[in-house]
């Protein structure tokens, strides 16, 4: 009866969203609600299917292998939850053609779930492309130019993947992950190179990240799913490619550097640079969406570091961080979406003081920012700490400092959001702004919950990760419910929480003991005069001194390099176009020349 179980699982996680996609398109006005139902069912059904291990070979002309195991479950947990939250959020914010939104979201959800279930390249590629183009159409809803950039990179990634698949197929004649015996080391190198680069595009690793800031600036409810959910498929792909298909022994076969595969190390280095560059660029963004986008790039750089290093601690850390990132980054995008929905502005410098009017949004965003910046008591801390330790453990003197600097940078941009958007002076136009609508708040609350829970009980998620690590054969780490241990320390969240609570209570007491006078924000004066209204919110040119310091480096831009490259190509195309002269006599001459040429080749071959 195994096969029925598999079809059941496949039905719930892939076919159901697909059906929902059609239904919600027909649903017109109720499309979003139908979408919620069809996103909720897979999310809930994840619960009974925990720790199942279903695998089935199916022959559809070629063998394909669909699997539902902890890896699938773990990634589905992120993606489906985020998708559900995004749908909830969309109730109040997607007003324009909701049927298109809902059906495309469900389509990409089905694609994503399909990718997670496939353990063969054919179904992987099919679902991957489905997810890719539906995401493209979703971006197209807000901007054609952004969508074009995304599509180009999306297809680039697909073509890298297909090169990898093709070389795999050349050696094995099969698409199954498990049929990987007998591939020579050189073959492995190219397969892994193409696969990892292909999936890294989806994770927006520098220098393949330039699509992300644009794609992440489209509709907030989709972007939170995109950045939080779909980008994890890149993580999944790299995990599968490097550790699921190839395995540690082949990676080590390329040579090692302090026990880390020479294949993985450059990617880890690239990840560290991604974290660094993403963070630096995020600091200087004034557009809230772009800031979060660059931050997302930076955070996934950490994940890439972990996947590249490949020690048990590093991969666990990477998975944990990916999990955290899914939730806190979706939460941040939703928070930003709520703020943008209420104010209609994108620029941080045009906001301010919204925390007074939107306290719940502020609270959720604050918590997400804590997690993002890795403040010790949040789950973001523990995952980052694992990654630091993994780098420090092996004494990597470039990777570890880059990550630490990036972490400091994360504080800077987090502060920019906190101050620029929520704190400071509430500007006059926003006097009467209301709290975000209820569905938005519920969506954000749902995303905050796991962050809170796993900050106290990291052991629960480490248990799932442990399962994944066992199945990939990377090795496991020591952990218990509140903490994990490594060769150079580890972290105990219970201790941290108790310490934090003590400090918090003391600080609270001091705060309460001190007598303070409550003043209105306009209760101020300048040089003895009391002006009626003054813009005191200093969010313009935020971090200007820092920017000036970095100016020499900031003038190099990867975006511009790409633009130059594309201009070069387009000019080249115009030149090549001149072959077609539009003169029939030239064309007749081509025909004659081709005939002679073919004849020569033919005679030469004889």
């Amino acid at each position: 009866m195994e096969i029925n179980l598999l079809w059941g699982v496949f039905g719930i996680f892939v076919l159901l969203p697909l059906a929902g996609s059609i239904l919600s398109y027909l649903g017109k006005k109720f499309a979003i609600y139908i979408g919620i139902i069809f996103a909720l069912i897979p999310t809930i059904m994840l619960y009974p299917f925990y720790a199942q291990n279903i695998s089935e070979l199916i022959n559809i002309g070629v063998n394909i292998n669909l699997v539902f195991d902890t890896t699938t479950w773990f990634f589905m947990l992120m993606i489906d939850t985020v998708a559900f939250a995004s749908f909830l959020f969309a109730i109040s914010c997607v007003k324009k053609k909701p049927e298109g939104f809902a059906s495309l979201m469900l389509l990409s959800l089905a694609g994503a779930n399909g990718v997670l279930m496939s353990r063969d390249f054919l179904s992987l590629y099919i679902f991957w492309e489905m997810m890719s183009w539906s995401a493209y159409l979703l971006i197209l809803r807000s901007s054609g130019e952004y969508a074009r950039r995304y599509l180009l990179f999306g297809i680039l990634s697909a073509y890298f993947i297909i090169m990898g698949i093709g070389i795999f197929y050349y050696y094995t004649g099969s698409f199954l992950f498990s049929d990987s015996a007998g591939i020579p080391l050189m073959g492995w190198f190219w397969i892994l190179f193409f696969l990892v680069v292909g999936f890294a595009v989806k994770m927006a690793v520098v220098p393949l990240h330039v699509w992300a800031p644009y794609a992440y600036s489209s509709e907030p409810s989709f972007v939170s799913f995109f950045s939080g959910g779909l980008s994890k498929l890149g993580t999944f792909g790299i995990l599968m490619g490097m550790y699921g298909i190839a395995g540690l022994s082949i990676l080590q076969g390329f040579g090692t550097f302090r026990d880390v595969s020479l294949f993985g190390y450059p990617f880890a280095l690239l990840g560290a640079f991604t974290a660094f560059i993403g963070t630096i660029l995020a600091i200087f963004q004034d557009d809230l969406r772009k800031l979060l986008a660059y931050s997302s790039i930076g955070q996934l750089g950490y994940v890439m570091v972990g996947l590249g290093l490949g020690t048990p601690l590093a991969v666990s850390g990477a998975l944990f961080h990916a999990f955290n990132h899914a939730f806190f980054k979706s939460l941040l995008f939703l928070g930003a979406g709520a703020v943008i929905y209420r104010t209609g502005k994108y620029k941080i410098s045009e906001m301010g003081g919204l925390g007074y009017r939107m306290p719940f949004t502020f609270l959720f965003v604050l918590f997400a920012i804590f997690a993002l910046a890795g403040i010790p008591i949040t789950s973001g801390f523990i995952s980052k700490w694992m990654l630091y330790e993994a780098a420090i453990e092996k004494k990597f003197v470039i990777i570890a400092p880059l990550m630490l600097i990036a972490s400091v940078g994360a504080f800077l941009y987090s502060f920019r959001i906190l101050y620029g958007v929520f704190l400071g002076q509430l500007d006059k136009p926003y006097e009467n702004i209301k709290e975000a609508p209820l569905p938005m708040l519920v969506a954000m609350g749902i995303l905050m919950l796991p962050l809170l829970i796993f900050s106290i009980f990291p052991g629960w998620i480490l248990e799932w990760i442990d399962d994944i690590m066992k199945s990939t054969g990377v090795g496991t780490i020591d952990y218990n419910t509140y903490s994990y241990y490594s060769s150079i320390g580890g972290a105990n969240m219970l201790v941290l929480w108790i310490a934090f609570m003590l400090v918090f209570i003391v600080a609270m007491l001091i705060f309460l003991m001190k007598k303070a006078r409550k003043v209105d924000q306009y209760d101020n004066y300048l040089a003895g005069e009391s002006p009626p209204y003054v813009q005191l919110h200093a969010a313009h040119n935020f971090y200007k001194p820092l920017r000036d310091t970095w100016a020499p480096l900031l003038k190099y831009s990867i975006d511009r390099a790409y633009e130059k490259l594309s201009r070069f190509f387009v000019e080249g195309f115009e030149e090549i176009k001149k072959i077609y002269t539009e003169n029939p006599q030239d064309y007749a001459a081509y025909l004659g020349i081709a005939f002679l040429l073919f004849l020569f080749i033919g005679w030469w071959l004889l």
Binding site: I126, E129, M130, M163, F573, Y580, G602
Partner: protein, 475 residues
């Protein structure tokens, strides 16, 4: 089961084509229904023939002479499949053709039936000289249709087509003459079995001539130079017919030259290189186009190059992919040309940059997106399978560098289609007239075919399993 003669596929359009002027004397309005009805009848017959051919190849002897002397029609499963595709595409395009207003309508309908007949003949015939005759019938109908608009653009396109087309058919005739001079036979299977008797040098010249001659119709680089201008100058429905009917017939003829007649296995890499060059130049020049129909024409070149590449790779998988691609390209490109026809009609310009927001009407937008995604090779649309199979076939033969080049060219394809989509779905455009039923019905029909066989490609693959016999020189 009723025995259906494949010759009906040729006879019916021919009969009705010359009946049309008579009908036209009585009533002009009824003409378009007659044409669509004829093609519908033809499609049904094609379906029956195809079903019969699936069991065993049909040989239909014409004129009473026995082969190898007499003319024979031979319909294998693949030939039947391609004939079905051509008739089906013709049927759907003829619905769009109903809205044709420009006189002389009788000639338009006549020529389109003749084009259909020629294309059917090219696919069905088993005789080399007969193939040439049908090639010429197709070409003559095409020359007439290409100039149908009677404007400068149309005449120029037609002139280029005439010049290149007649040089091409001269080459075909040279090839036929050379083969006949050595083997004294014109039957394809007969030629194939006795190929060894040929002098190798004459064989090379004959092959080159035939390859080049059919290459003109099959849009191979550098013989495809007529394509953009002819497609651009022709009426929209005619461009769709060229892309999905005559080009398919041409490439199938080319495939038969390569596999059935010459059973060419050692030098197939040469075909692959020609294919990849076709893709490369087609896609790159398409990027540099500003007019929608020219862009589609160059893109069509690129797609035909992909089919050629698949044929050249020559493994079962790749050739299956190539045939699948013929099907998907016939459907998707006809869809895009019809959509382009509506867009040009609605915006009164061919410039893509002035078509802002034209796709925002879902009746146009959704088929347009489906067509483009299918051309780009996205699952679950039919374009995916052809591309994937061709690529995998190429990989299993070790053509890495060529495939990398091909993928780079495909990336360019993505770039220009995305550029077009960006404009087509941009907000803030004017209000455009909504499409008539004759426009959106064909669009939706094509889109439905693209999606249905994309989601459930199994029947097509079952047909394509006959590729193995085709590759070993069978029908």
């Amino acid at each position: 089961m009723i025995a259906v003669h494949p010759v009906l596929l040729i006879a019916i359009p021919l009969f009705f084509a010359f009946l049309l002027p008579l009908i036209g004397l009585f009533s002009k309005k009824v003409l378009k229904y007659v044409v669509t009805g004829t093609i519908a009848l033809n499609t049904i017959i094609a379906l029956l023939v195809f079903r019969e051919a699936l069991n065993s190849p049909i040989f239909d002897i014409l004129g009473g002479f026995k082969p190898p002397l007499g003319i024979v029609l031979m319909v294998g499963p693949l030939g039947g499949f391609i004939a079905l595709i051509i008739n089906m595409a013709g049927l759907i395009i003829s619905i769009y053709g109903m809205e044709m207003k420009k006189e002389p309508l009788v000639k338009y309908y006549m020529l389109s039936l003749l084009l259909l007949m020629g294309a059917n003949g090219m696919v069905l015939t088993g005789d080399l000289f007969n193939l040439f005759v049908f090639l010429e019938v197709t070409s003559i109908a095409s020359y007439g249709l290409a100039a149908y608009n009677k404007d400068l653009k149309g005449f120029e396109g037609a002139l280029k087509y005439v010049i290149l087309g007649s040089i091409g058919s001269t080459f075909v005739l040279i090839g036929i003459a050379l083969i006949y001079s050595q083997l004294r036979t014109l039957n394809m299977l007969d030629i194939a079995t006795r190929l060894n008797e040929m002098d190798p040098y004459v064989k090379i010249v004959a092959f080159t001539s035939l390859f080049l001659g059919f290459g003109v119709e099959a849009e191979m680089f550098p013989l495809n130079t007529w394509v953009p201008e002819t497609y651009d100058g022709a009426p929209h429905s005619v461009s769709a017919m060229f892309a999905s009917m005559s080009a398919k017939a041409g490439i199938f003829a080319l495939a038969r030259v390569i596999f059935t007649i010459f059973a060419f296995t050692n030098y197939l890499w040469f075909v692959v290189i020609m294919g990849v060059l076709t893709v490369f130049f087609g896609e790159i020049i398409a990027y540099a186009q500003r007019d929608i129909k020219r862009m589609l024409a160059y893109s069509s070149i690129g797609q035909m190059g992909m089919i050629l590449m698949g044929l050249g790779i020559g493994t079962t998988m790749a050739v299956e992919g190539a045939f699948f691609q013929m099907f998907s390209h016939a459907m998707a490109k006809a869809l895009l040309f019809i959509a382009a026809g509506y867009m040009i009609y609605a915006t009164q310009t061919e410039k893509m940059s002035e078509m802002k927001g034209i796709g925002r009407n879902p009746l146009i937008g959704i088929p347009l997106l489906i067509g483009i995604l299918s051309i780009l090779g996205m699952p679950p649309f039919i374009g995916f399978y052809g591309k994937f199979y061709i690529l995998m076939g190429g990989f299993s033969e070790g053509y890495y560098a060529i495939i990398a080049l091909f993928l780079a060219a495909s990336l360019v394809e993505v770039a220009y289609y995305a550029r077009f989509i960006k404009i087509a779905f941009e907000g803030g455009g004017k209000r455009y007239p909504s499409p008539k039923a004759t426009v959106y019905i064909p669009l939706l029909l094509f889109a439905v075919i693209i999606v249905i066989f994309g989601v459930y490609p199994k029947p097509i693959f079952e047909i394509l399993s006959h590729v193995t016999t085709f590759l070993t020189g069978g029908v």
